[in-house]
Structure formats: C-alpha cells, structure tokens
Amino acid sequence: MSNKTVFIARHEELPLKNNSTSLFLQIMVAIAVFLFAVTLSGVLSINSMLQNWNESILGSLTVQIMPSTNINSEKAMAETLAHQNKALEVLNNMENIEKAQPLTDKQLEKLIQPWLGDGIDIKDLPIPRIIDVKIKKGADIDFMDLAYKLAQATPMASVDNHKLWLNKLIQFADGIKILALSILALVIMITSGAIFYTTQTSLGLHKYTIEILHLMGAKDTYVAQQYAKRSAILALQGGLIGLAIAIPTIFGIASLAHQIEGGIIGEAKLSSFDWLIIVGLPAFASVIAMLTAYYTVKQTLQRLM
C-alpha cells in the first residue's frame, strides 16, 4: 500500500471535542462575558462621566448673591444687583480670574423653570443672583482669600467651588465602580472555577488514556496543552455568543439612560477605546480559560499520577 494514496486524518489523543462538559463551559463563558461586558460598559461610562465632570468643574466656581429682604420688590432687586456689582468688582480685580459673568434673567428663569414652570418673572421673586466665574487655566485660587474679600465687599455673597457637590458624586460613582468590579471579580472566579472543575472531571474520565500517554513519554505539558487549546476554543466561542448578546443590551441600556432628564447620565458615553476593550472580552475569556485549564491539568496530574 502506497503512503501517498492513503489519507490518514490525525485524531486527537484525548477526545475532548465530544466531551459532555463542552456545552456547559460554552454557556458559562457566554453568561460570564455577557455580564462582564455589560458591567464593564457601566464602569467605563462612569469613568468617562467623572472625567467630564472634573474637566468642566475644575476651571470654574460660582458666586451666589443672596436676595435683599426689602418688602418693595423693585428696591429689593436694585439692592441685590448692587451687591452683585460689588462682588463683580472684587472678582474682576483678581489676577487668576479670567472672566466673571453674572447669569442673565433669562438664564435664571431657565434654571428655575423645572420647578416653577413657564411664565415666571424673576423680578417678582426673591431668588439669588448667580455669577459664573471662569478661572485662568492652570491657576490656583485661594478660596479662603476670595471668600474673605467678597465678604468684605458684600455680606450677601457666598462662594461655591462645587467641590462638596462633586465629592459626593465621586463617592457615589466610586461605590458603583467598586460594586461593578466586585461583580467582575466574581464572574472571573465563577468562570475559572467552572473550568477548573470541568477540567478535573474530564481528567478523571480520560485517566486511562493519559496514563498511556505518560507511558509513551508524554510530559504533563503535552496533556495540559491539549486541554488548554480546547478550553481556549470553547471559551472564545462562548465569549463571542455572550458579546453578541451584550452589545444590543448595552445600546438598550444607553438608550434608556439618555431618556433620563438632567443630563447627568447622558454624559456617560463609551469611547472607541472603551469599545475596543469590550469587544476584546471574548479573547480575554479565552486566555483566562486557557491558563486555568493548563495549570489545572498540571496541578491535578501531579496529584493524581
């Protein structure tokens, strides 16, 4: 019989393809990647949102002028505006301040519109005046000094550098991030655990074949590589399925978030780099599965044989 005329397909020494645990592993990884992708998109969105907040807030502060308590509304408005002008004078004379701009009546009306509705004339209302202050890029403002100078000029002025508000939001966002990262860690642990136990079960099933391979001179690495390769392929397939379900889910959540009024969640957007990380999750799951299977086999064989 000629060698050239016979086609001989090489069969895997360990029949891992027909393993009953394969489907279980694929489903586990698909679920893990789905949860991983959705949670990660949340974490990355929160990060980008915090970054936006930081960038917009670090270079600005707000000076609030409390309204005069005069019963005559016209006089009260005139007094309040006089206090605002004094504060503006102080602010414009400070060297690190680029611009101090009082909000117009229209802008103030827009601010209170969600609470009081349309058609409100703010001249009739005892509401504070707001001065939006832009700080020069890279400049460092001594807030205590600024507050002191404003207090000297007018007792009705107060400074809000947004830090208190921002810190509370950062704390809230950090809490969500820790929760999300805990979920991610849990997902990785559950997936690795599933791979660990399915690999151990499979090693038990194929003990006879592995013994023969050892007797033929196979190192543990030879067996481990076959398991690692199989696990990597299964995890990649499962991961792609999980990702295929996760992407429309992320878009769905994003769409719902954008419908929430206030614009805070609307700033939570994923960059191209963030998407690259999410799309790379099946490959990441595949590597985790490969390494888990490889070291499980090495460790188990040393213990069993």
């Binding site: 060698n3 001989i8 020494e13 007797l215 033929m216 001179g217 196979a218 190192k219």
Partner: protein, 241 residues
C-alpha cells in the same frame, strides 16, 4: 557475565529493591540487578510472582517501596516528572493487555510515541506505514482496536513499542495472542533490534520460546530474583548480566 572490576554500562540498576502494595507483604524483596546495555533476557516466574511489578518498575510506571532503581544511569527515586517522561521515551513496552487507546486507529496508536516527542508528521507517517506493513497490518491502518482481533491488537502494541527504536524494550507475554506463524516473526524483530543495540527483556510463560532462543533468564521465585544462564544450564551468581 562481567566481573565487578570491569563494570559494564548498565541500562537498569536495582539495589535492594522491594515492592509492596499498601500495607501488604512485599511482593518483591531485596532485588539486586544490573542489566547490561545490549543484553537480551527472558523474565520468568509463576503467575503472581511479580513479573509485571518488576517490569512496571523498569518502564517507570512505579517506584520501589524501598531500595534504589537507576534507569539509563539516572536514579528514578529522585527524578522529577519531566525527567521520567524523557527516560520513558527511550523505553518501548508491550503490555500484556495491549493498552491501546480505543478511539484511535491502529495508525494513530502506533504513532503515539513519535507524536509525544513532537516528530514531524511526514516522518511519523513514513515510519508508521513501514512498520504497519512489516507487522502485516497495512490493511487495518484505519481500524480501531475494537474491530481488531487479539493477535492484531498485539501486533499494533508491538509496533507501537518499537516505533521509536527504543534503547530498552520490555515485553509482557508479547507472543501470547499471535498466530504460530507470526510469533517467530515478532521474535525475529526483537532479536534484530537487540543486534542493533536495544536491551530486551521479555516476560513469558512459553517454555518453547525460552528453549528456541538461547538467552539468559531472570527468574522470580519466593519474592526474589535468580538469574539463569541460557537453557537453564546453571544459575549465574553475579548480578551483572
């Protein structure tokens, strides 16, 4: 036999070796043995005398309960798993129960020792095809063990044992299941390998085989090992054989 002053290159060296399973009595006690490179021996003894246990120590599937075993000059008591794997690649084994992998074809079973060494697949194919033709199994290359007869399985097992041209060949009843016309051919293969330098140990019950071939005999009796010259002529006193 060589004198102790002119110590030969030993393939296997055993010093005061004992084997026991669990807390049971020793199956083999105080075995002292030194197998010279290129030697040919029959291993005999009654059923349960410990032939398979002695062979399993030689092919490194088992470590001794006491004493030391050196294979190819390496003390296996302290060898790590990778080192043992490399030593096993120099050893061909024909198991009494064949130990073929059921889901693999005859071709893939014979190719195993070459593939675990990472040999190029074209060379694997060439060598396996040649050997399967030699053992007259060229028509069964794709057959799985379940579809082969006892004799055919044994020929596959023998082909697998010799495919990597081992330095040490261990066979447990290698001609027990083959037809009368095939048995001499297989023995001729072992003899030819021995002439090329392979050390051979064959465990057998066949008096015919022992009488047809003039090789010394390692005989297990009363948990110990005695060495006889060819055709039972005399017990050899030394342990270098």
């Amino acid at each position: 036999m060589l004198s102790s002053t002119n110590k030969p290159t030993s393939i296997i060296e055993m010093q005061n070796v004992g084997i026991r399973y669990g807390q049971g009595p020793e199956i083999l006690s105080d075995i002292k043995l030194s197998l010279r490179k290129g030697s040919f021996h029959f291993l005999t003894g009654r059923s349960g005398a410990g032939k398979t246990s002695l062979l399993s120590m030689m092919y490194l599937a088992q470590k001794p309960s006491r004493g030391t075993v050196s294979v190819f000059g390496q003390n296996v008591n302290f060898a790590n798993r990778d080192a043992l794997a490399l030593l096993r690649r120099k050893i061909g084994v024909v198991f009494q129960d064949f130990r073929l992998i059921d889901h693999l074809s005859a071709f893939d079973n014979v190719a195993l020792p070459l593939r675990v060494c990472g040999m190029d697949e074209r060379e694997v194919r060439k060598r396996v095809m040649e050997l399967l033709q030699w053992v007259e199994l060229e028509r069964s290359i794709q057959a799985t063990p379940a579809t082969l007869s006892g004799g055919e399985k044994q020929r596959v097992a023998i082909a697998r044992a010799v495919i990597n041209r081992p330095e040490l060949l261990l066979a447990d009843e290698p001609t027990g299941n083959v037809d009368n016309d095939i048995a001499p051919k297989l023995m001729k293969l072992f003899v030819e390998l021995n002439k090329l330098g392979t050390t051979v140990v064959i465990a057998t019950h066949s008096e015919k085989l022992i009488s047809d071939f003039a090789y010394p005999r390692l005989h297990l009796q009363n948990h110990g090992l005695k060495i006889f010259a060819p055709n039972n002529s005399a017990e050899l006193g030394g342990r270098h054989v």
